[in-house]
Symmetry: C2
Subunit: 545 residues, 2 copies
């Protein structure tokens, strides 16, 4: 008991630096003193910070409000700090350092409860040692930014704490999903009689759905009989496409080696002639082509495959055409850029992740399927404990059996709320701004002698790929020796960058090209000054390499 | 412009009933008057409620804080109301009513932005027309309750807005996942040298992983070559098991008809002798058995399959033994109940959903795999843009390639935080309380003449299944006529119950048993008075049937 008391004391001391925590303590002490524990001081001390006195415990309103208010102060502080350029993007620690425990932040879990104050300290520390993905200088991932309305939407979603399987438990969210899917389908260009879909846990699962549904469309017997009853099927996707096509082929029992990788041009776009050759070659080998994935916005280069030409080939060979617009889909919100996805209306299915270019908090990804009813037929099993047919409302709104999941997280509300707050036009402006940033970076890179573009075309999406060339390599002739040295530059700069925490950007090799940086813009908070900072910082961190 | 102004006015009037909204308005007006718009009244009116003036817009702190504070007031009001028995569990409206728009709540999305005040009104309405899954009288789903610490955890998660693929962007959450998985594995009973796992988007996906990994374990060539290279495989699961086994078999290309359904005893437990017969029969038909799913806590009856006897059979035939403890796993937290899962330590994989019996907000489901490294080998593709091997930290912490997803939502933090706040012991008490409620309901049902238990055993889990017998059926002899009438009783009571909104409970038929109610307890807020209320309410709603 003494030891326990000392621990409490420690956390109290620690907590005192936290804004408002004295207020909260005072409020809670007052509350318990007045109502519950007038004579029992020990009980007071014990009770003060115990989560068992939160709602739904009777009389827990005050304590719950106080606790959530403290939390919101911490979260608001984080949101506010994230948008300040003077704060770090990350405060890096190696795994072993975090596991050993830093300044009292311990990941270990015990049999006994911690105090509520300690819980708040843990929340603060969790944010402190994390990465500010909303920082204007975080360029590391396709998803970035921190939209306040989106965050608000997710706070509400978690408070509503329900599931997407039936209208019975999610009336509002199920209808919002319908509204958003219709909206997205009409933007893709499908008629009112076409279009179906679902929000999925990420773009890879959305792509998996496209293959699953395509397979079922051509071979409905696969659902009951399995792949053993089918010929050896072949899928086609470009060498620059996302790895999810191969991953899904492995998961679905199609086999990753039956995914035929089609060559791209220098800019990362699938070459339609190569697709046609690949199809014919596969047929000659005895495979049965059935599915083509075209990418609208590749992961590294941000390239758009020529959708119309691919659609023609798919028509000719009666192949399912899927467009993976996980990253590029957002451009359809902009009048200035949507022509880059011309032909997408001819797709049979589309993946589109609002959590990428549209800035919706993670996760929010949609699979759109042109033929209505196919998702339901492909996946339904009609479990009677959940999807009773004798309900008193219209059961076609129990959309859960369309899904390969049972329980499904509500990913739709934050997106709906952001659309309300921005309007379609607001998303359009956001996209335009991100693409302007990419053009600005492209222009700067062209002007600077210490950087080299990976390819010399104006960016189509917000991806810009480049090498930093340290002084030691500038005079060196192209060749294996220079390549081998250059290959080590980006990882070493990235390591220093993470230790310093001032900015974050990704790198990778691709094909014959050695490690290069890929900058992507999806955070509307990013300004030109941040781009200047990025280049100066890379140069500063890599100058001596 | 005039029309726009009128819309604004309307929402302002509407908003005035909302607590604090006048305060907020005043604060914001003051802010903009002082700092930005001293001379431009039109701009002031326009700007007042526009989300573009939230962070990261420069100077948006005040407005962001005000907006989030308003939202938190709404959310806190909801949390507080949810725990009050005097409030409804739901305020039911048919889909067409909600779609037409109720009292100004419109689901439609437009090109133009709404005001921030309208956004807040929409948030309030979204909660108003939803279902209070945290209400002490919500018995409809295996997931219920509203844990304040869990909600706090999810608020933080959405504010951190990151992804589980790499240590680079999720250092803290990746390590928390490791800590929790280790904890769960040790509770299952695996040694320190064994055990691997992932948090997944729901129990169905966790079960899918178990089959995927089992298939890869026996036939690693399936990853590249597909199911065509394998014999016709057979899976075994009980007739009372969750539909996810069949669904996953369809998705993975195994075929749902290759899932052999094994008979259960009256209580819903798999009969080991029947399993053995099924295996031999399948072999005689030329199928190759490889996987058995045993259920620890079936969906409807809450039955526990005899794990030790099933493990013996799996050993004998060298079959992968999976335990679907999505629902029953929580009982391992209780010293009083964990023996019901005796033998689970012999499983090769386990599904365990903390979002069910442990009250963690949706979603939180784990797949645990005994053999370390198998998940990684089965699913890795080594995409170089994400999983670079030349990083400056220990890349074994980049666990994202274990997953069939690419982006993966952070489901782990809320669970970690709840564990901190309750300790293992707190979860144990919670489970004990829910099972005590089930026993209380069972006792009450035995005493009442207007109800009939579906089977006469004391509940093993928190599921209690029963019929309400209206006076008109009480004298009727058993037989098809009574069955046909009784079958309609539960749906009709449920319809009335939803319209009234006082309580919510599920029903379904099962095998030869006509529609019956299934009550489940997973919300520690539920008290005995709620159980009495449930029975009285059913009786009241169904008396005239």
């Amino acid at each position: 008991a003494l030891k326990k008391k000392q621990t409490n004391k420690k956390t109290l001391v620690k907590c005192s630096g936290m804004k408002h925590s004295e207020d909260m303590k005072a409020r809670v002490v007052k509350y318990f003193t007045q109502i519950r524990c007038e004579t029992n001081k020990y009980l007071l001390a014990h009770v003060l910070n115990n989560s068992y006195y939160l709602l739904p415990a009777s009389g827990g309103e005050e304590m719950t409000r106080g606790f959530l208010q403290e939390l919101v102060n911490i979260l608001f502080g984080y949101i506010s700090k994230t948008s300040q350029r003077s704060t770090k993007v990350l405060d890096f620690h190696h795994p072993h350092q975090l596991k050993e425990g830093l300044e009292g932040f311990s990941l270990d879990l015990s049999d006994q409860p911690e105090t509520l104050e300690q819980i708040l300290v843990d929340c603060r520390d969790t944010l402190k040692y994390g990465v500010s993905t909303g920082h204007p200088r975080f360029f590391n991932q396709l998803s970035s930014g921190l939209d306040v309305i989106g965050v608000a939407g997710e706070w509400l979603t978690s408070t509503a704490n329900t599931n997407m399987f039936t209208y019975e438990v999610s009336p509002v969210f199920i209808l919002m999903e319908e509204v958003l899917l219709r909206k997205m389908q009409s933007i893709v260009g499908w008629s009112d009689e076409e279009g179906d879909g679902l929000f999925c846990p990420g773009g890879t699962i959305s792509n998996l759905y496209s293959i699953l549904v395509a397979r079922y469309h051509f071979y409905p017997e696969v659902k009951t009989k399995g792949m053993g009853a089918l010929p050896r099927l072949a899928l086609f996707t470009s060498e620059h496409s996302h790895y999810s096509v191969k991953k899904s082929a492995a998961v679905l029992g199609l086999g990753s080696e039956n995914v035929v990788v089609v060559k791209c041009d220098e800019r990362g776009k699938m070459i339609p002639g190569e697709l046609e050759i690949s199809i014919i070659t596969a047929q000659k080998k005895g495979l049965v082509p059935f599915y083509v994935n075209a990418t609208a916005g590749t992961t590294v280069y941000g390239a758009f495959d020529p959708l119309c030409a691919i659609a023609d080939i798919c028509d000719k060979h009666t192949l399912w055409m899927h467009v993976d617009a996980a990253w590029g889909g957002g451009l359809m919100m902009s009048d200035r850029h949507r022509m880059k996805l011309g032909g997408i209306e001819r797709a049979w299915s589309v993946t589109w992740n609002p959590h990428k270019m549209m800035g919706v908090p993670l996760q929010c990804s949609a699979i759109l399927v042109r033929k209505r009813g196919l998702l339901q037929k492909c996946n339904e099993l009609g479990a009677e404990y959940l999807f009773q047919r004798d309900k008193h409302y219209e059961v076609s709104y129990d959309t859960g059996d369309k899904s390969i999941q049972c329980g499904r997280h509500v990913d739709v509300f934050k997106f709906w709320l952001m659309w309300k707050a921005k309007g379609s036009e607001g998303f359009g402006s956001q996209v335009n701004k991100c693409l302007e940033n990419a053009e600005y970076l492209y222009d700067q890179l062209q002007r600077r002698a210490d950087f080299q573009l990976v390819f010399g075309h104006k960016p189509e999406h917000s991806n810009v790929c480049f090498w930093y060339i340290p002084p030691s390599l500038r005079g060196m002739p192209p060749g294996p020796e220079r390549d081998s040295k250059l290959h080590q530059v980006a990882p070493r700069i990235k390591g220093r960058m993470m230790e310093k925490g001032s900015v974050l950007i990704g790198y990778q090799p691709l094909g014959t090209r050695v490690n290069f940086f890929r900058c992507v813009f999806s955070n509307p908070a990013t300004q030109q000054e941040d781009i200047d900072f990025l280049l100066d910082e890379i140069s500063c961190l890599g100058h001596d390499l």
